[in-house]
C-alpha cells in the first residue's frame, strides 16, 4: 500500500508517521540495549503494532483517560506520556514514572491522564470502566480508553466489564489489539474456531468496529469516529484491530525459531508494515516531504538518545524507598 499522499492529508500523514516512528524507535532501542542487563524487568514490546496507538494519539484529548496492559509502552507514549520517565522507570531509577517501583509493566503519567497499566491480564479493564463511571458522575465529556489484547478477552473480568459499561451506558472505548497470540498460544487453543471477538462484544451489548491495523488511514478514521461517538454520550464502544507482534512475547529478541509461529507468517505481516509503507509513501510524494520525514526521524532519534541518557544517568532510588508508600498517608478532604 505504498502510494503518493494527497496534499490535504500531508500534515496528518506526517503526524501518523511521527507517532509510529517514535514508538518503533523507542521499542527498538530497548531491544538493542536490553541484553546489557541494565533494564532489569520484563519488557513487552509493541514493535509491529504501532499503527493503533498512532491512530489513538491523533484522536484523543489530553484529559481523556487511558489504561493499558503489560504491553503498554506504546499506549503510554501515544497518550502523551513522558518518554524520559518511562525509560527511567524501565531502568529502575528514582526519576521513573513510578519511582522505580513498578517497572515496564506499571506505567503512569497523571499529567496526561494515563492512569496505569497492569501486569495481570485483564486487570486494568474494569479500572478503565470505573474511570468512565467517574466521568459520568462528574458530568464531564471525558472518555475512558482501555487497551487490551486478544488474550485478555478470555478473562471473565473483561466480559463483566463490558456488561457493566453497557448497563450504565458509560463513556468507555475498548481498544483490542488482536495480535493472534497470547504468549506463544495461538487463538485456536483459546477461543472458538471462527468466533469473532467484535461480533461477540456486539451481542453482549456494546457497539463495535473492526479494522485491519495495517491500514493506518482506516484505523485512524475508525478510531476518531469511535472516540467522537463515545464522547457524544451514547455509551461504550469496542474496537478490534488486527495486528502482529514482531518480537518475542517478553524480552528483546525475535523468536520465530521457537516454532510456535512460522517465519512465513511473520514475513507476511512484516511486508505489510504500515510504518515502512507510510515512510515510503511520504518519500515518494516529494523531496520536500522526504526532508520533513528525515527531520522527524532525526528529532525522534535524538529525543530517544537523550531519554536513555537521562535514564542511565538518573539516580537509583534509596533503599529506604522500598518501604514507603505502602499506605497513602494524607487524610482525604472531607
Amino acid at each position: 500500500m505504498v502510494h503518493p499522499i494527497d496534499s490535504s492529508s500531508i500534515e496528518n500523514s506526517l503526524s501518523l508517521f511521527h507517532q509510529m516512528y517514535r514508538i518503533r524507535m523507542v521499542e527498538e532501542e530497548i531491544s538493542r540495549r536490553y541484553p546489557e542487563g541494565k533494564m532489569r524487568c520484563p519488557v513487552h514490546l509493541s514493535t509491529g503494532q504501532e499503527s493503533i496507538p498512532a491512530a489513538f494519539a491523533l484522536s484523543i484529548k489530553k484529559n481523556d483517560f487511558a489504561v493499558s496492559t503489560h504491553r503498554g509502552h506504546a499506549h503510554y507514549l501515544a497518550k502523551g506520556g513522558d518518554l524520559k520517565a518511562m525509560i527511567a522507570e524501565i531502568y529502575g531509577k528514582a526519576t521513573g514514572c513510578s519511582k522505580g517501583k513498578g517497572g515496564s509493566m506499571h506505567l503512569i503519567d497523571l499529567n496526561v491522564n494515563f492512569m496505569g497499566t497492569s501486569a495481570i491480564v485483564g486487570n486494568s479493564i474494569p479500572v478503565g470502566v470505573g474511570l468512565a463511571l467517574s466521568a459520568q458522575l462528574k458530568g464531564t465529556d471525558q472518555i475512558s480508553c482501555i487497551f487490551l489484547g486478544d488474550g485478555a478477552v478470555e478473562e471473565g473480568v473483561f466480559y463483566e466489564s463490558v456488561n457493566f459499561a453497557a448497563v450504565r451506558k458509560l463513556p468507555v472505548l475498548f481498544i483490542c489489539e488482536n495480535n493472534l497470540y497470547s504468549v506463544y498460544s495461538p487463538l485456536s487453543v483459546r477461543q472458538p474456531k471462527g468466533r469473532s471477538i467484535a461480533n461477540m462484544v456486539d451481542a453482549i451489548g456494546v457497539g463495535t468496529g473492526t479494522c485491519n491495523g495495517d491500514d493506518i488511514y482506516s484505523s485512524q478514521k475508525l478510531m476518531q469516529n469511535a472516540v467522537n461517538k463515545v464522547r457524544s454520550g451514547t455509551g461504550p464502544y469496542f474496537l478490534e484491530f488486527s495486528t502482529y507482534r514482531w518480537r518475542e512475547h517478553c524480552g528483546h529478541d525475535f523468536d520465530n525459531d521457537l516454532g510456535y509461529r512460522s517465519e512465513k507468517e511473520f514475513l507476511e505481516w512484516k511486508s505489510k508494515d504500515p510504518l515502512i509503507n507510510l515512510e515510503e509513501s511520504l518519500y515518494k510524494t516529494g523531496v520536500k516531504l522526504g526532508e520533513k520525514v528525515d527531520s522527524i526521524k532525526a528529532s525522534i532519534n535524538s529525543e530517544i538518545i537523550s531519554a536513555f541518557k537521562f535514564a542511565e544517568t538518573s539516580k537509583f532510588p534509596d533503599q529506604i524507598e522500598a518501604y514507603q508508600d505502602v499506605y497513602a498517608k494524607e487524610e482525604l478532604s472531607k
Partner: protein, 351 residues
C-alpha cells in the same frame, strides 16, 4: 442518646458520608432493593439519587475494579456484599490491584474504597456463607481491615474508612446487626488503628474482635465473679493492628488469651500470640494461648453447629484452666443458648 442498632448505625454513617461528600457513592447487590442489605442502605437511593446509589450485576470482580478506576478520579466507593464469601471472586482486583496501586505507582494515586463484607453464621449458613477471612486481608500489605463490635464503632469507623485514602475491608458480623448501643449523631469518627479496652482488668488480657467480643465480655463478667479480672481488648482494626495497647496490657497482666472468629491455623489470633511471645516472652507468667474456630468448614445442620462456635463458656474454661482453677461448673453456669444457631429470639431465618 437513643439506642440504635448496629445496622442503623451503618445506615447513619452512609447517609452522613454521602451528605458531606458528593464524591461518595454506594453500590452493591441489593443496595437499592426493599430489604436494603439488612436495612443498612435504607433510603440512600431516595436521598442521593440513582447515580450515586445503585444495584449492580452479579460481577464481584469487575465491580471491585470499577471502584479502583473511579477512585483514581477521586470517587470514594462503598461497595457492599451480603456475604464475605462472594468477595472471593474479587481477590485479583483487591490484592493485585487496590492494595498495591498506591505503592506500585510510587505513591501518586490512592484508592479510597471501602468494601463492606458481611460475615454469616448459623441458621444453616453452611460452608460458603460463614467464612471469617480477616487473616487473609491482614496478610496483604496496603489493605486496612476493620471489624467493629459496637454500633458506635460501626458508625465512627465506617466514616473513618470511607474517608481513609486506602482500600479498607470493613467486616460486619451478621450477629451484630441487631445489637443496640448509643450512637452519637452527626459526623463522628472513630480512628482506625486504635484498639479499645472494653473492660479493664489486671489478671489476663483477652484480645478479641467483632462478635467474639460479645462472648469475651460475657465470659469476663463471669470470671470476675470467680475472682479473675480480665482485661478485654476489642481490636476493632485488624490492620494496622494496635500492638501498643496489647503489649501494654500484657505487660500488666502477664497473660494472654487471643480470640478469633476465623479458622485456627493462620488466624489473626495466632499472629497476636506470636508477637506477644516474641516481644513479651520474659514477662509472660504462663504460655500465651488462643481460641478460634476449628480448622473445619462450618457445617449446615443445627446439630452439627452445636458446640461448634467459641462461646463464653469455652473462653471461661480456658482462662480458669490457665489459672489452674476447677472448670467443672462452667458448662452449667454458661450454657450454650438454645437455639444456638441464631443471634437472638427475633431471628427467624433464613438469612
Amino acid at each position: 442518646m437513643t439506642k440504635k442498632t448496629f445496622s442503623t448505625a451503618i445506615n447513619d454513617a452512609l447517609h452522613e458520608a454521602m451528605r458531606i461528600d458528593q464524591s461518595v457513592i454506594c453500590y452493591g447487590l441489593g443496595v437499592t432493593d426493599p430489604k436494603a442489605v439488612f436495612n443498612t442502605t435504607s433510603n440512600l437511593e431516595k436521598k442521593f439519587g440513582s447515580e450515586r446509589v445503585f444495584d449492580m450485576p452479579t460481577s464481584e470482580n469487575a465491580m471491585t475494579g470499577v471502584a479502583i478506576g473511579a477512585a483514581l478520579n477521586g470517587i470514594k466507593s462503598v461497595i457492599t456484599h451480603q456475604r464475605i464469601d462472594f468477595f472471593l471472586l474479587a481477590m485479583d482486583q483487591i490484592v493485585n490491584g487496590a492494595a498495591k496501586w498506591h505503592y506500585m505507582y510510587g505513591g501518586q494515586s490512592s484508592i479510597p474504597i471501602t468494601i463492606r463484607l458481611i460475615i454469616g453464621r448459623g441458621w444453616g449458613q453452611g460452608p460458603t456463607h460463614s467464612q471469617n477471612l480477616q487473616a487473609w486481608f491482614a496478610h496483604i500489605p496496603g489493605l486496612k481491615v476493620v471489624m467493629p463490635t459496637s454500633p458506635e464503632d460501626a458508625k465512627g469507623m465506617l466514616l473513618s474508612s470511607i474517608f481513609d485514602p486506602n482500600p479498607v475491608i470493613f467486616l460486619e458480623h451478621r450477629w451484630l446487626h441487631d445489637t443496640l448501643g448509643d450512637v452519637p449523631s452527626g459526623d463522628i469518627r472513630v480512628p482506625l488503628g486504635k484498639a479499645k479496652i472494653v473492660k479493664a482488668g489486671t489478671d489476663i488480657t483477652l484480645v478479641t474482635m467483632s462478635y467474639m467480643t460479645v462472648e469475651a465480655v460475657h465470659a469476663a463478667n463471669y470470671l470476675e465473679e470467680k475472682g479473675i479480672v480480665c482485661e478485654v481488648i476489642d481490636l476493632r482494626t485488624i490492620k494496622p493492628l494496635d500492638w501498643k495497647t496489647i503489649m501494654d496490657s500484657v505487660a500488666k497482666t502477664g497473660r494472654l488469651l487471643a480470640l478469633d472468629s476465623g479458622f485456627t491455623t493462620g488466624s489473626v489470633s495466632g499472629e497476636v500470640v506470636a508477637r506477644v511471645a516474641m516481644e513479651k516472652f520474659s514477662i509472660l507468667k504462663s504460655a500465651p494461648t488462643r481460641l478460634a474456630m476449628p480448622d473445619v468448614p462450618e457445617p449446615t445442620s443445627l446439630a452439627l453447629t452445636k458446640g461448634f462456635y467459641v462461646r463464653a463458656s469455652n473462653i471461661a474454661e480456658k482462662v480458669m484452666d490457665m489459672f489452674g482453677k476447677n472448670t467443672s461448673d462452667i458448662k452449667k453456669d454458661l450454657p450454650e443458648p438454645s437455639p444456638h444457631d441464631v443471634p437472638g429470639e427475633w431471628f427467624k431465618g433464613p438469612f
